[in-house]
Point group: C2
Chain length 593, copies 2
């Protein structure tokens, strides 16, 4: 294998063009095996192999600095920068993250997992170089999909006036995660169609010098182009056209599906294994069924998402059925919120879907565009909860971020019937800016219809079981944990604890809390997210001047990185046993068993 000879970037510089081509294929083969074994980003990495080789051939990392946007296309870079063992043997597959990680290598400058950041980060590196009188190239590698994010535009607008070396490589594979949306993409197509010659050029309009490389999977052409811009003394965009999923037929045929794949997507011959849909109900299916039905009944209902339909199970069939009542706005979360606010003010009924980790991009839009205007939208937050994810994709912060914004009604359903009722209430009401944290726990159906008019019960908690001494408040995903804790308290301490489903993340039920004071000594809050700034602390504050003690449970203020969920629960004392231990200690109780 050529790969045997490559242990650092310098080793690439000694290869011939044909050896480099073989190297690209070797890396692709290993990437496919790995992501098909443990899951991972597939298409982006297959397409960027040649460009990564060419970058390391022409430039001298780490003196020349390469910043990867989103950084989920850094696998070939990891091969070349001393981390190929993470791809060679299955036992090493988990050794390195799927993103750039400075703790792994001096060739990785930033930890990055959210999109559209590379140009701004690189501009900072370049300006630091200039201030310190140093030299070297600064390179941002950004995909076409990431260009739709506002931060990328802000970065380009500023990079263009840097007046010194910065090289923006636009990796154009004509795909975002899903197909691109937006006017910009017509311009990229025009540029591709004219071999980069069209005068109407987004990058030139921002003031960049511009170089077009149509054959972005041809190492020779890439090296030739990169040599032209090496040590350039002004900002330049190098527009390269690559094939997403290159070298893997199913990946080029199903680009969206192969952006990130699950284990065992392919058989031993790299053919697609047909998916077995269970056909059973889950949080995805009931959401889609609701939206389809509602959209059919009411032409003003519209489902929106920013660039990640797969996260919500919004497959092509679903999108086709919705037609004009479905919009993917691309990677543009800020726009998504303001757009939805405008839709609501115009009398439509927007249902906006965003993954918890990415709603972080919209604090100000939630505050100013949405809640200050009380625009009645339905915002579905997906995947919220403590997880074993990479540190760049944690979904633990949404409640602490959104929960303190005035006017927002943020709901946490605990079962199918409650979720569907909240959803229907939210879509039909016109008073409140509403968000719902779609459950990410096991699917639970009670079989008992929820007929609550939530407008009449804003911030009213639901008393599920009236007990004494100890009240357990289980929010959303953690209602099941609360049930277990109540049972464990009974079993171990012989106490019939009170069980409460708070339903609302953004407010507290003062009346119910006041009543608890009469025959309770302790309140326990359980939330599936960051405890700092979260739901439980509001209850601690409210009860701070009473004799009721409070224990808040949730995740700590930290970025965790691929820690198994069981380990995190233990760390945060989120097992029923640990909680009952804390209860006994807090109330000086002894176990009855």
């Amino acid at each position: 294998m050529i790969l045997d000879k490559v242990n650092c970037p310098d080793d690439v510089k000694g290869l011939s063009f044909s050896e480099m081509e073989i190297l690209a294929d070797e890396m692709r083969e290993l990437i496919i095996k790995k992501v098909n074994t443990i899951g991972g980003h597939c298409g982006p990495n297959l397409g960027i192999a040649e460009a990564t080789i060419a970058l390391h051939y022409v430039f001298n990392s780490p003196e020349d600095k390469i910043v990867f946007d989103v950084s989920h296309q850094c696998y070939p870079h990891k091969f070349i920068t001393g981390r190929k063992e993470g791809f060679l043997k299955p036992e090493n597959y988990m050794k390195y993250t799927g993103y750039t990680a400075p703790e792994e290598s001096e060739h990785d400058i930033f930890k990055v997992g959210h999109t559209s950041t590379s140009v701004s980060l690189a501009t900072g590196l370049a300006k630091a170089r200039d201030l310190k009188g140093e030299t070297g190239n600064v390179i941002a590698l950004i995909g076409d999909g990431s260009l739709s994010g506002g931060e990328a535009f802000e970065g380009l607008d500023n990079a263009a006036v840097l007046n010194s070396n910065i090289i923006i490589i636009v990796n154009d594979n004509d795909m975002s995660i899903a197909p691109n949306e937006g006017g910009l993409y017509k311009n990229l197509k025009l540029l591709r169609d004219t071999n980069g010659q069209a005068e109407c050029n987004y990058f030139k309009s921002l003031g960049f010098d511009y170089l077009y490389i149509g054959e972005g999977n041809n190492v020779e052409k890439l090296i030739d182009g990169f040599k032209k811009v090496k040590d350039i003394d002004h900002p330049v965009v190098v527009h390269i056209v690559t094939e997403k999923g290159k070298g893997l037929k199913p990946a080029t045929e199903h680009k969206e599906m192969f952006h990130w794949i699950m284990p065992n997507t392919l058989d031993e011959n790299n053919n697609l294994i047909p998916m077995n849909y269970s056909g059973g109900e889950d949080w995805y299916s009931i959401t889609k069924d609701y939206i389809l039905k509602k959209a059919q009944e009411d032409k003003s209902v519209i489902a929106i998402n920013p660039a990640t339909p797969g996260v919500f199970g919004f497959n092509q069939d679903f999108r086709n059925k919705l037609g004009k009542q479905y919009i993917d706005v691309g990677i543009a979360e800020e726009h998504a919120i303001a757009f939805a606010s405008g839709l609501a003010k115009g009398g439509a009924k927007p249902i906006l879907n965003v993954m918890s980790s990415f709603i972080q991009r919209t604090y100000d839009q939630l505050s100013q565009d949405l809640c200050l205007n009380n625009s009645p939208i339905t915002l579905l937050i997906w995947w919220g909860g403590i997880s074993s994810a990479d540190s760049t994709h944690l979904c633990t912060f949404d409640m602490a971020m959104m929960g303190n914004i005035p006017n927002l009604v943020y709901l946490a359903p605990t079962n199918k019937e409650e979720y569907l009722r909240m959803l229907d209430w939210s879509v039909n009401q016109t008073e409140f800016s509403t968000a719902i944290r779609v459950p990410s726990c096991e699917f639970v159906s009670t079989g008992i219809a929820d007929t609550t008019d939530y407008s009449e019960e804003i911030n009213k908690f639901k008393m599920v079981r009236q007990g004494e001494k100890i009240a357990v408040i289980g929010l959303g995903n953690f209602f099941g944990l609360a049930e277990n804790v109540v049972n464990e308290i009974k079993a171990q301490l012989g106490i019939d604890a009170t069980l409460i489903n708070p339903r609302f993340i953004t407010g507290i039920d003062e009346e119910m809390l006041n009543n608890l004071k009469l025959n309770h000594d302790l309140v326990i809050t359980l939330e599936d997210g960051e405890i700092n700034g979260g739901f439980g602390e509001k209850i601690s504050r409210y009860l701070g001047n009473s004799n009721l003690k409070v224990l808040n449970y949730g995740s700590h203020k930290e970025f965790t990185d691929r820690i198994p969920l069981a380990e995190l629960y233990k760390r945060y004392r989120l097992t029923p046993e640990q909680i009952v231990e804390d209860v006994a200690s807090c109330l000086n109780l002894n176990a009855i068993i």
Copy 2:
């Protein structure tokens, strides 16, 4: 006066061109009087008078919907839409807000005060119209300065593919709040220089149809142009060139100074009254002095701000002295954070200045680009605190928003010496992503140098006076209030309370809190910002399982709108008298006097 005839948009439709010109001048005269009396946005409103008249002449508001970006240029619109009385007599000056406000008029669709939102909001209105099968024009009026914000780009990228009527009027006065920065502005200049004819055109590159009106203060030309795009069936940008500050000589000569003016900026002849600099020390002067000195000593120090240098007192003299060590990135807060993170990783020492209300635009950048990477920047948050501001510009939320982001060290100094020490510590250290909430309280100097090494004391509170029974923790701006509360407790209850300066917003001193349990019954926290998700709740949580009671004070979760500070303090029970009343009630104590 022509204005006498104008009470609603229809009245404009009956005016001749020359009457419209007179109307523009009449409105300008009244605007100047008003803003010179109570303060307000001056230059933007003087420049947009003709365009506003032309809009109401050609279009039919509210059937046609006009969305104002930032909306601080809506004064002429308020004249025409039934609110001229707010400008005619000083006693009515406060009657209407300085921004669009749906509660005032059906012609105002959104409450807007942060920039770059109009295109997305308008796209939502247009899409709602289409879904419902309605007709009518949707118009976004956006200034050139606002175009640099990422949300505006995301909006344009999506508006361009709407496939139906949306009209984006770009009001190009060649100024942001301060001079424009960014590559885009070279393109706007090119378009102005070529009478809109240049092929390299930012708006066309995004897919818009494009119309150029060079004489944007000529009602006839404007009306002619607007008529061309009325009822258009596809997205169009109308690029109009206006004069910021038109009709007021000092405003055209000092465009930045006249963006927003204080009362009594002009004499009775509308000449500029020379400013009397006190020359005394204040939070602005000591910050600037520090930055200048440090920048001279260390060429890697760089002061950054996104578009609002005036907020920090960064005048032209200061900027000139810093030279290349100063960058205004324009309205691009997201870029500002990532850029600073890049600078820090490149070994420079960025000091980034942002107003509290606008840091809201950067939650994800603070989390991902900055804190996940532990980039050692110094972020100065200005004007943070409860205020009598308009609901769109509140500065009460920064602590609740930033305080729960992992890794961030957010400091709250209480006096000059402490602030300067924190600033110097932050700039020189390389371990932590640091923010400092620049005090916005009265200037306090103790005369006692602070020599703390804050790296050694992360999250350690400062025990200022050890007392008993009651501990008062006064954060940042509210340390002075804490001193008053301690004195009032002594006077009224005869108790020597403990006084604590926590210094850190982002952590709690568990050791000190544990020690308080020994001889205290109550802890009081005071913070100048939203109590939900804020500093005090973390203490309530930590002490939730102890016998110590806690009272948290701060602002409520609400958007307040121009409420006098004294009234807000009373509402939030933030006077020493109210607090001591609460203390007495909580501890069942009787006043000794």
